[in-house]
Subunit: 339 residues, 2 copies
């Protein structure tokens, strides 16, 4: 077990790496606690949920909506949750997003912690304090930025993680490498998913490396006025095609990164489009996809990143160096049509 406390501008977060889930009992220090998880995770790890009462939601991004928040809040009232009760999200990004959000608004805010069960949540979704829900087709349209008290990493939870979820998680790892870390990109080129699945210590190192990349970016810019925007690399077109075609998040982000690389070539003279696309394929991810450009652009116009007639698009200068590039909606439309 390794513990690391990271201070963000709003609060400090305790990261506990390589600890059993049951260690959570010490983290809540005698307070009441309630687990929030989804039916998939609950079915796979039932025995681990005996410590505290558990609220089980339906799995899947389509349930990251207000109706699920309503259900959780009604159950919290029934369970007699009070202002000192910890909410502990055990699951992937949907569970951590919704748990953090409910904890932020229930009784004007209670403490919460995360136990991520997917690669994607471990290296990305659980970190940084952004939480929230979708509103109809609009992703993360409602939410808060608020840090959890702790994030606990129990790698044994990954034993039952389905193959497609491993692929999803590596999309965000490749994103980190693209925007910030050429050495990580090189490491990824030398390996593949099966390698990390077999070598738990290599995986643990990879997860901690990615946690460190993300926390450093968030530390410098918790409320996304600057460098944190880089983490949106691949997430603009990515979110739109995810919504339109109901494809897994990692695949959608991979498609988004493919588009962003081409835009980088056209705007910035980025010369490594092929290299990124080869790495994505190596990890089972699609760098390309035929999508309806008009419908996609319409969704982009309601993206949170748009302000008036402009948006910040994340481009690459080179592998390991992402940049924030302001672009008008008109230019973006034209450039997408010309791809």
């Amino acid at each position: 077990m390794t513990t690391k406390t990271v201070s963000f501008s709003s609060a400090a977060v305790k990261f506990i790496f390589d600890a059993p889930l049951s260690h959570v009992e010490k983290l809540v220090a005698g307070n009441k606690a309630i687990f929030i998880t989804d039916d998939n995770v609950y079915a796979r790890h039932k025995a681990r949920f005996k410590l505290f009462p558990t609220i089980v939601i339906s799995a899947g991004e389509q349930h990251k909506q207000q109706a699920t928040v309503d259900t959780i809040i009604n159950q919290l009232v029934e369970l007699g949750a009070d202002r000192k009760t910890y909410l502990i999200g055990v699951g992937g990004g949907v569970v951590t997003d919704i748990t953090g959000y409910v904890a932020g608004i229930f009784m004007r805010g209670v403490s919460f912690g995360f136990i991520p069960t997917t690669i994607l949540a471990m290296v990305d979704a659980a970190i940084g304090g952004k939480n929230g829900i979708d509103v109809g087709l609009y992703k993360n349209m409602v939410g808060l930025t608020r840090q959890p008290a702790f994030i606990l990493y129990d790698y044994t939870l990954l034993k039952t993680l389905p193959a497609e979820e491993w692929v999803n998680g590596f999309a965000e790892i490749i994103k980190h490498a693209c925007i910030k870390d050429a050495r990580l990109f090189a490491e990824l080129k030398d390996n593949n998913i099966r390698f990390y699945q077999k070598d738990l210590s290599a995986l643990a190192k990879l997860v901690q490396k990615n946690v460190s990349i993300k926390t450093k970016i968030v530390q410098a810019d918790e409320f996304e006025n600057g460098d944190r925007k880089l983490l949106n690399f691949g997430h603009t077109v990515g979110h739109a095609v995810e919504t339109l075609y109901q494809i897994p998040h990692g695949h959608a982000i991979s498609i988004g990164m493919g588009i962003a690389c081409k835009l980088s070539a056209a705007i910035n003279g980025f010369s490594q489009v092929k290299e990124v696309s080869v790495l994505l394929k190596q990890y089972g991810l699609p760098p390309q996809f035929e999508f309806d450009k008009e419908a996609t652009f319409k969704l982009l116009s309601s993206d949170k990143k748009r302000i008036n007639n402009e948006m910040n698009y994340i481009l690459l200068q080179k592998i390991g160096k992402g940049v924030v590039h302001p672009i008008t909606m008109d230019e973006l439309k034209e450039r997408l049509n010309n791809l």
Copy 2:
């Protein structure tokens, strides 16, 4: 026009006293803005809502629920609101509570301001950053603590305020006097509502005095770990009877203060029960009410103020001096039954 900036621990709030509603245009400084109001206020002041697009919700505490939040968010998306758009709540406490809440969660937080149109919102609801909605029968079960950018006081809006709303507002003014200010209590004894309705300058002074009492308490304890709890005087039994009997907030709080005074006599030896009750009546408020003690106690058990088997009850030592008194739920039940 008088401007005063008050710094809370989380953010600074600009108070603009005695300014026309139209002054709001300067406050948003060229950014997009959207008014949120209710159908009563809109009908009474239609001509004033031409500055910005306006979202009109149904008036009344029964609409301080998630369904109204959903409606507002859908309209914000339709209106093309973005991260730089100001939301401006124009109305009473329900409008300001819900506007502050929506502004806190929409796109993970946008700027907002208030233009209170009732005495109650001017001296209490609009101040302090607490916002949120009810969940079924449970008052303010969901919400945030987040400060508005500004609060603008246009006293001409009070010209059309219904008589019962004047009465409601004075319940919170009497509350402030009871917990913090014996001189204000004495001033109130010398006057009545008609006096303040006729003398706009006396009213303006009274409002500013009450703003100052509330802001000082909130400045010292924004997140309610200590003295801010005093503002809950009358609000424990008050909220429960408000919900159970659908009576106006001010009346409910008045009944709650009546009960809290009797509990103060029994627990603290408070000797001025009669004086408080006389003042409440002088301002058209009921100090007593026959209520179902069992149903009331059941609702109290789900009050946010309960933690495990205990609650902080606000009592008076003397007029002008409120105190936080921890009491077990069992003792509270017994004491309520013995009243």
